[in-house]
């Protein structure tokens, strides 16, 4: 079944981990959770494609994991706190994952954060509703008075 439309779908660069994605991504997140055990990490490293079979994922989900496509994992129901465990299994820092997901280098990402982070201006809306929420909320109230 196709995803239901949601108000937050308009936010750019954001995959909200909602109840639908949670259901869809249950195999991804269960796989990631299994990596908390060292024996499982070893088994996964020894045979990645074979190991993930036991979680009964879709082919897209398997491919996203094998290719370490972190954004695709989120889109298919993975949650960042879980997928970060895959990153840790690979020996990567969280900054490495952040750089991958944002399509930047680790250095550029770190520099952006030190400079105050990614600004919200220009990053609110895909459809052009890029005004602060409060400004939007004010206009109908004015009409009523």
């Amino acid at each position: 079944m196709a995803r239901e439309p949601h108000d937050y779908d308009d936010i750019p660069g954001t995959f909200v981990f909602d109840a639908e994605r949670c259901r869809q991504g249950y195999p991804i997140n269960s796989f990631c959770m299994s990596l908390m055990k060292d024996a499982n990490r070893k088994a996964f490293r020894a045979d990645e494609a074979g190991y993930i079979k036991q979680f009964h994922m879709t082919q897209e989900q398997e491919q996203a994991i094998l290719k370490r496509d972190y954004n695709r994992m989120l889109e298919l129901g993975g949650n960042i706190y879980f997928t970060a465990k895959l990153g840790a299994t690979d020996g990567h820092s969280f900054q490495h994952l952040a750089a991958l997901m944002t399509g930047s280098t680790q250095q550029d990402y770190a520099t952006m954060m030190l400079a105050g982070g990614r600004p919200v201006e220009g990053n609110r809306s895909k459809s052009g509703k890029d005004k602060p929420a409060r400004a939007r909320a004010k206009s109908p109230a004015r009409k009523r008075t």
Partner: protein
């Protein structure tokens, strides 16, 4: 009678715990964060609570997606630190207060908040990092200076409980604590936030304006905060900033009028804006002047790092 005397808002960035555990607190990057909590540690040592209710969220440590309770109250006698992939953090086991926790559970369930009761649970950085920031570094063979009642909130799977629901739960917790016969001094932590997004192509988002308005309104106009819809948290302050609803449980558990006694804000700690506030129930008479002075001093410590 038991009484909630103060509320503490505090980010729970995991990297803060790692910096503490790996002896990096002296580095300029981390000094900027830790120095902001020096007055808080002093305040905590002076306040000497018997119990802290810590509202926090689990990050795929105690709860997987097998089970996702919206409100889970820790009623166990102790809560060991979880292994989050690097071994358990070297911090004390948190000792619970099962009698008070069970009393709260019974009271708020009859007030129509359908809590999940947890009798066995490990706690992760969401709870231990704020304890460290307020109490300093303690080793596993030491003890936290008060008993701890964890209240784990689902803010990982959307939708989390609304701000209004959280605020109302806070009020029910206050009522429950005040009907407990033992003389106990209780504080409540609201943890997580402030603005941050750690997932997807928009990761790294920070909105200091949103955060500062949130901190202001905790004292000035909590009713306004309670009305913030989930969409606004996510759009304005980042997907993971929705953790801020947990601060509203803390605020709801305090008196309607509160005094801000301390505040600290800095950007960044790894991917996150660190926000911190201490609120006490409003005191009449001469307390006001003292509070204003302390608040002004607190403001002066606000820092936003703009360049390396």
């Amino acid at each position: 009678m038991a009484k909630i005397v103060a509320g503490i808002g505090c980010s729970h960035v995991p990297a803060i715990g790692a910096a503490l555990d790996n002896g990096k607190t002296g580095e300029p990057y981390w000094q900027r964060v830790f120095s902001g909590f020096e007055p808080s540690k002093k305040w905590m040592a002076e306040t000497k609570p018997d119990v802290a209710i810590v509202v926090y969220n689990d990050h795929a440590s105690a709860f997987s997606t097998d089970l996702i309770p919206t409100f889970a109250l820790g009623c166990a006698t102790e809560f060991p630190p979880a292994d989050e992939g690097w071994g358990p953090r070297p911090v004390p086991v948190a000792k619970g207060d099962p009698d008070l926790a069970v009393h709260i559970a019974q009271s708020v369930i009859l007030d129509e908040f359908d809590l999940t009761i947890v009798n066995k649970m490990e706690i992760d950085h969401g709870l231990t990092v704020p304890l460290n920031l307020m109490c300093g570094k303690l080793n596993p063979d030491q003890e936290w200076p008060f008993k701890i009642i964890p209240l784990a909130i689902n803010v990982v799977m959307y939708p989390p409980p609304t701000g209004h629901r959280c605020y109302s739960l806070g009020k029910a917790i206050r009522k429950a604590v005040e009907s407990y016969p033992e003389d106990l001094k209780v504080v409540i932590f609201g943890t997580g936030g402030m603005s941050h997004q750690i997932s997807g192509p928009r990761a790294g988002l920070i909105n200091s304006k949103f955060d500062k308005a949130f901190l202001d309104n905790l004292t000035k106009d909590p009713a306004k905060l309670v009305k913030i819809p989930h969409l606004e948290y996510v759009r304005e302050a980042g997907a993971e900033a929705i953790e801020l609803v947990m601060w509203l449980i803390m605020r709801g558990a305090l008196a309607d009028k509160v005094d801000e006694v301390y505040r600290f804000y800095t950007v960044p700690a790894s991917n996150t804006a660190v926000g911190h506030i201490i609120l006490e129930n409003h005191k009449r008479a001469t307390a006001g002047n003292k509070t204003r002075t302390r608040r002004a001093a607190a403001r002066a410590t606000d820092t936003v790092r703009r360049s390396q």
